[in-house]
Symmetry: D2
Subunit: 341 residues, 4 copies
């Protein structure tokens, strides 16, 4: 932690800061410039983080030096990359995964038809929500518990592992019974109850970035899961809030190479929710794969016009194979291969 | 709902849209311009909202006409404003309330000392968190259950009603046992589990705006609570994410007059969390009051330098009376009076 | 400048950085933590700013310590505040000014009628644009040269000094002939040609913050003017781009107290362009004044419904006196008085 | 234009709006819903745009139906795409172009060395700034006039056409004497003086998107150029302002497919300025090409460590061929080929 003093801070103020740094068990290291004095507090991460010197007399601002996350940091695994393996499908490192399925498990027919299309196109995992977070209390909230056995059936038939969302800690056991990967949605990225409980299950987690979360906050949320002993976190960029009105969210593809430098965890991209519109999904998917993403999670449906939710952004199941092939070509440019079983 | 067709949409495409609108039980109303045809879908709110025409052939985009919230809308109470009354303190309409207290209930002494200062300064409610949402899993997470009796004691001594945060649905009963107002934090604005359960309690709710929530989304979150039969929702602006690095969050004071036009619910402003810095808290509080807010919620502490969290932004308890007086003057400019018991 | 090395940076990389710092004529000051080494480069502002070490081997990132502006900084005048005096009206320090007028000088009648209303209401300066920056090439672009004599006539009749916008460096002489304060619009905040030329005139400048300019960038733009020897810069907050769709721009009232800490220059607030809507203008004006702004610049028109541009946000001239009185009350809460002649 | 009335608007208010629409020479088309009345104003684009009904009694808000730009719209060329040809290099349609060069023309040696590297790597155009817009008045402002002959020399030797920036209308003739493509920077996207004058020259224009410009505003800026009779506008996405602190600007790759639907003009992506960091430039370039961009403009330098500006983001000239080949592969995924002479 560097403590930057104000121009014109007095000797006494500097001395008071030094004393406080030392009292916290850290070492104070003083750099006196012509205009400004900077005091480095060197010591244990925890002690230094909680010095509480912000706003103290003569202090202009603090500059943290150490990253606030540890288990999620690139340094923690000394350059080795986490590869999450789900029923033999690898995600991360050189392995790219396509996760696809309908927005919501709306019926047995829809989930089974889609699962077959994903399987035939060479997709790796099947997604589908039984519980759906909806902005409006008047919208369809998902089939709930009744949706879970349908996911299990789709897995039984196609062998595709299941990614499904958990919203309420009281549904944890039910979801764990079916999910191969538990999804935590953007609105729950900082739901510390869910992060902690999911961390305790050991089931791989697909953690969506909050609508206005910084990448550091996303990594801190992952840290909550990792800290409970669950090493299998897939980070998911799904678009952030921005000022542009011509699309729903701004897909932040810079997150892909930036996260690669900050963390060893795999990075998945969800182009569907940012786009909100089918015609944008393929170009964004190709861009994500070319940027070096470790996978995409995308919505597909046998008849999007009839879908209960998110119809306009879901791809057509009968053209999905063609799309998946294009994505594979783009991933190859970035040096990634699909991990088929 | 207006359906705006693309330039060059064919007659068949227009006919298909009309057919679909009518099939949904709504009336189609066609406006044919020189370049573009617009189809109005007139009918029941629910039917019209779920037409699923976005992305249909020839359709450029949809324009919703009706607001998606109903119980929260200004029209719902025909101009009458909601006044939430908590133990005799009125909030809303012409009544302004000052809600103050430490960031977290860190000890018996701190919460009692602060409560006395708030009481003496003429404050209306006491705030303090037993459960604390923290970005880092390594930060102090609040006293938890042990903090609740301390809040009860502070209330017993000063008579100030208590505002405290609920984070985990499993703590609902414990919190309801102490809280006069349940706070839902910014990170939980779209935690539909909490919104629904809190709606069922009937206890007044202070609902903080999410870090990147639009005002419409905030009102939709309030609608979740109102729909369960709980009419007492206090909306709280606490700063949104923005690009400016010189402060923590951008306090959106435009939300105050805009919400006044959109809803009958009271609007509270939290200047502390946006500022992150003591020196900004008073000017922002005065601005909020002058803009017509129905109250402020502000952090105050006997010894901010020793506070476990948010020290730099907490006001000094021994100068709180002076601050509260200034806020009262600003509220008076906007035509509001404090509601003392 | 602090140079933060990567975890695991080698001794050689550290040595190379130190060498480079010293070669630039600065002193290197090393702080070695358990995980990370930080090198302070102490010396002349210019040398240190251009070390070019970002991205060098082993370097994680740089942290500038000194602010990049000098003449605009609060420290430069050692706590004294700049008071700009225009024909006897003081702006800054304890003095608050109301600058008002129509969006554009659309006719002799409109500008004269408005000037009288502003004068009668106790306003300090008259605003009105002869040249108008318009998003669309098909919109009215202002009367241009023909508007300037009308402003001169309004000043002759009412004695109110004139604030008017300059957009094209080729119009500089014509504008200087009439303007008491030259306005540079938000789109031109970083038009370095204009900043430099206006700096050379010595005429006071009202510099609007760009739509997504940080406060530091605003101060750097002011520095361009100050550097040419023109000390009279009024900074103007007019709303920044944000994600909220229910208003045009997000008026950043936090800028008021933050700029007060960063600079000695006066801060003016423009509530009209952010709001885009008349009903929001008064609450935002009161908030700005209560937050400690040194003035407001607001649009007013005898018949807003007939205005050529920005009609919906212009106040009614015949109710302007009442509005101005309310603003004066709010300014008083912040300890400011109007400077009448 | 649709005029949405408030819930509870009176018959008289509706009648007044209709009268005003008709008085403007447009047709009024009324849709009466259960709660809300919507009035369509059908007629000439100009008349309808300037109805001035926003804020009128009983009016809730206006919804524009027609896009405000015409010449730039996709419909204007009925699906045909603009291909800009510069000395035989095609940009747009199926043709991808790599534009590369140093940030600034800092010396004869640097510009010539870089030009050779770009030529050898199969690049299409050479970029380099003689005039540089700089945030700080204390930074190097470019060689100015002295830089232009160096660009001419680089062209003479390599045959590469030149892209260079114009900042001051007074430099127009000098820049036109050398530039094959005139660049207008992000800070000047809404500098209407420059847009108009450059429109009159007929020289192709590379128009960078402003830091917080919407895509509609970008197209309106292009419209200023097109309206003067200059059909050769290259739109350039270069990153927008966002809240994430780990990179400089948020490269908006969604702009690529969205602009493809809105306009016939080619879209170029500048990954260097958004990234601010070399290691991010290649992944972002691949993503841009895979998303369907018509070209990239990228910074490259023989010795980035010694560069006067933007060193950390400039690619190494001696590794540029390898990079260019990767970009070509990604462009191929999107169906584009390089246009070599």
């Amino acid at each position: 932690m560097m403590i930057v003093m104000k121009e014109g801070a007095t000797e006494d103020q500097v001395a008071a800061v030094i004393e406080r740094v030392q009292a916290a068990g850290a070492q104070a290291h003083i750099s006196k410039g012509e205009l400004v004095t900077v005091i480095g507090a060197i010591g244990d991460r925890e002690h230094v983080a909680n010095l509480g010197l912000e706003g103290a007399p003569g202090v202009d601002h603090l500059v943290p030096i150490l990253k606030p996350y540890k288990l999620a940091s690139e340094q923690y695994k000394r350059g080795e990359r986490t590869v999450v393996e789900v029923d033999g499908r690898k995600i991360g490192g050189d392995h790219f995964a396509t996760i696809a399925g309908p927005c919501t498990v709306e019926s047995r027919e829809v989930i089974l038809d889609t699962a077959r299309a994903v399987k035939d196109a060479g997709g790796q995992l099947l997604r589908g929500g039984a519980y759906k977070p909806r902005t409006s209390p008047y919208s369809f909230q998902g089939l709930g518990d009744a949706g879970l056995p349908l996911l299990a059936e789709a897995k039984a038939e196609t062998g595709l592992p299941i990614v499904t969302e958990l919203m309420d800690v009281r549904d944890l056991d039910a979801v764990v019974g079916v999910a191969d990967v538990i999804q935590l949605g953007a609105r729950n990225m900082q739901n510390y109850t869910l992060l902690t409980e999911v961390g305790r299950t050991g089931v791989p987690v697909l953690l969506k970035r909050g609508l206005s979360a910084t990448l550091e906050e996303l990594l801190m949320a992952a840290e909550y899961v990792l800290k409970e002993g669950n090493p299998s976190v897939l980070l998911c960029e799904r678009g952030v809030r921005a000022f542009e009105p011509s699309y729903r969210f701004a897909l932040d593809l810079m997150a892909v190479p930036v996260l690669r430098e900050l963390t060893h965890l795999p990075v998945i991209v969800d182009p569907s929710h940012a786009a909100g519109k089918r015609s944008l999904v393929e170009p964004l998917s190709l861009a994500a794969a070319a940027a070096g993403a470790d996978g995409i999670i995308v919505e597909v449906h046998p008849q999007p016009e009839e879908a209960i939710c998110d119809g306009p952004q879901q791809l057509y199941a009968d053209r999905f194979a063609e799309y998946a092939e294009q994505v594979e070509r783009a991933a190859a440019v970035a040096g990634k291969v699909l991990s088929n079983v």
